[in-house]
Amino acid sequence: MTDLTKRQFLGAVGSTAVIAALPKSVFAAPLSYDLAPVQVADGIWMIEGRTEYFSAENGGAIVNCALIETEAGIVLVDTGPSRKYGEALLDVARGLNGRGVAGVMITHHHPDHFFGNQVFSDKPIHALPETRALAESQGDGFADNMYRLLGDWMRGTEPAPPNTDVSSSVISIGGRSFETLPLSGHTGADLAILDQKTGLLIAGDLAFLNRAPTTPHADLPTWRAALDVLTEKNASAILPGHGPLDTSGASLAQTRDYLDWLEATLKQAALDGLDMVEIMDEPLPDRFAGMGAMPQEFHRSIAHLYPQIERDSMPLGQ
């Protein structure tokens, strides 16, 4: 019975009892993403995601994507949570530039950032080698969970890992050059991209702004080191993975502040002998309570990080 996944059911719905159990919204209206590009620099547009967690209501459109004009067409950074989203991105790209999409760059292997890849599989999809490996090994598991969370928005989506390794510090596409920063910490491989023409930094999920950072594959010391590198770049503006465009560096400072607080809070909880459910009951500081996807992301982070922090903190019995 655990072999039955939501994905298989959407592929071949065979039982009326199953259909009756699906939420009404799945069938109520045809689902479509309303992606509005906003220009953020010379020849760069962003699609701003909602600062929420995945839901059948938002269709997973919670992520920021960038569209960058080159002489060869649009370069996309991150492709969104589903095939349908990728198709909507392609429409936006064609509206901006008649040549359509020239190539794709993927910041990291989280499903909201690369599950639109199928639509661009005939194009070079650049990513760090480790991102490709992680997308290959974890993509199916992500897909099962995304089908469960997003329902029919995911129809037809299969994980398509990146097809081109980023192996040099500069990538040039259609006469436009991008400095590639191979970092990690949010996941095992996080690519940040600095547009050399405008100085705009696309930080992926190394930076969040007014949306709680996520930690399912985080290594906090490495993440902080990556934030140091990004801060030193003195970018003209920063496009965080989630949240609005950052013109002041606030996303880097806020992400660091949150990670520091998160780690300190969990270490103190371990010293106090708290169980995970007890930590979830603790109030968030005002400066974090208003972030998007709170307190949900705090609760998720407790599950990701606390068992190891607690283990390291507890003395061995005699």
Binding site: T2, V18, A21, D272, G273, D275, V277, A303, G317
Partner: protein
């Protein structure tokens, strides 16, 4: 959550297991269709039983990690609690563990492996023999029960088998412990059941028994518990003893943290 639960309900509705009516017919606030079955098979079809809001079951709405789902059960609003049985409605092995609080409060934090979205129940028996049942629902992607233990990825797990980490907070009346053990359910291919069956806590000076636990397969790998002793507090040193189903013994003394 609605999707998975709906699927399960549809599945169980087609299963032809025999279900005699229980002695006491309850209206399940969660109405899963499974409760009567557990009332008979796990609690032994008791004469006195009720759903009771004084048994508070707290857990995250969704399981972020199917292998480590935290639950806090608090029945301190009830007097004279003798035992607490924790179980899930849906799962290959419904019973998680039984807790005899003895000198502790009827309140426990633990973690378990969830196999699918399911209600979690705490059935609490008081001295008059009556059972009081509290519930909550946890959504899950699933698979926690039928996957092999993570420990086997590390090759030194045997060295740590049965080690106990933990601490005592005497004034706060709190004991927290983590016992290293794979807790294999027997449901993963080729890996037999290998679980801690019994844990006891005693005051290390007086030898007085403080609390007892009987663990079943769904308890998480490296079981982690907080026990609560309330305002009466607990002694500076607590001895933890126990054994697994292969006869391995657990024996450790937890101490109060040095005053900082």
């Amino acid at each position: 959550m609605r999707i998975t639960t709906g699927l399960l309900t549809a599945f169980f509705a087609t299963q032809a297991y025999a279900l005699d009516a229980p002695k006491v017919e309850l209206t399940d606030p969660l109405d899963t269709g499974m409760w009567s079955y557990h009332q008979i098979n796990i609690l032994g079809n008791p004469d006195k039983i009720r759903f009771d809001e004084r048994v508070v079951v707290k857990a995250p709405v969704a399981a972020e990690d199917s292998f480590n789902v935290p639950v806090l059960v608090d029945a301190t609003a009830l007097e004279d609690v003798k035992q607490m049985v924790f179980l899930v409605d849906y799962g290959p092995i419904p019973k998680i563990l039984t807790y005899w609080p003895q000198k502790a409060e009827p309140k426990l934090s633990f973690r378990f492996k969830i196999d699918q979205a399911t209600p979690v129940r705490a059935a609490v028996q008081t001295g008059d023999g009556e059972w009081h049942v509290g519930s909550t629902v946890i959504d899950a992607a699933g698979g926690g029960c039928s996957a092999p233990a993570v420990a086997y990825a590390a090759d030194d797990w045997e060295e740590h088998l049965g080690e106990v980490r933990g601490r005592v907070w005497p004034e706060k009346g709190r004991v927290r412990m983590i016992v290293d053990h794979p807790m294999d359910t027997g449901l993963a291919d080729g890996i037999p059941v290998f679980i801690i069956e019994q844990l006891q806590l005693a005051d290390n000076l007086s030898g007085e028994s403080l609390a007892r636990l009987e663990l079943h397969e769904p308890v998480n790998e490296d079981p982690a518990f907080t026990l609560y002793f309330g305002s009466n507090g607990v002694g500076n040193e607590v001895q933890v003893t126990g054994r697994d189903n292969n006869g391995n013994e657990i024996d450790a003394v937890l101490s109060a943290a040095a005053v900082q």
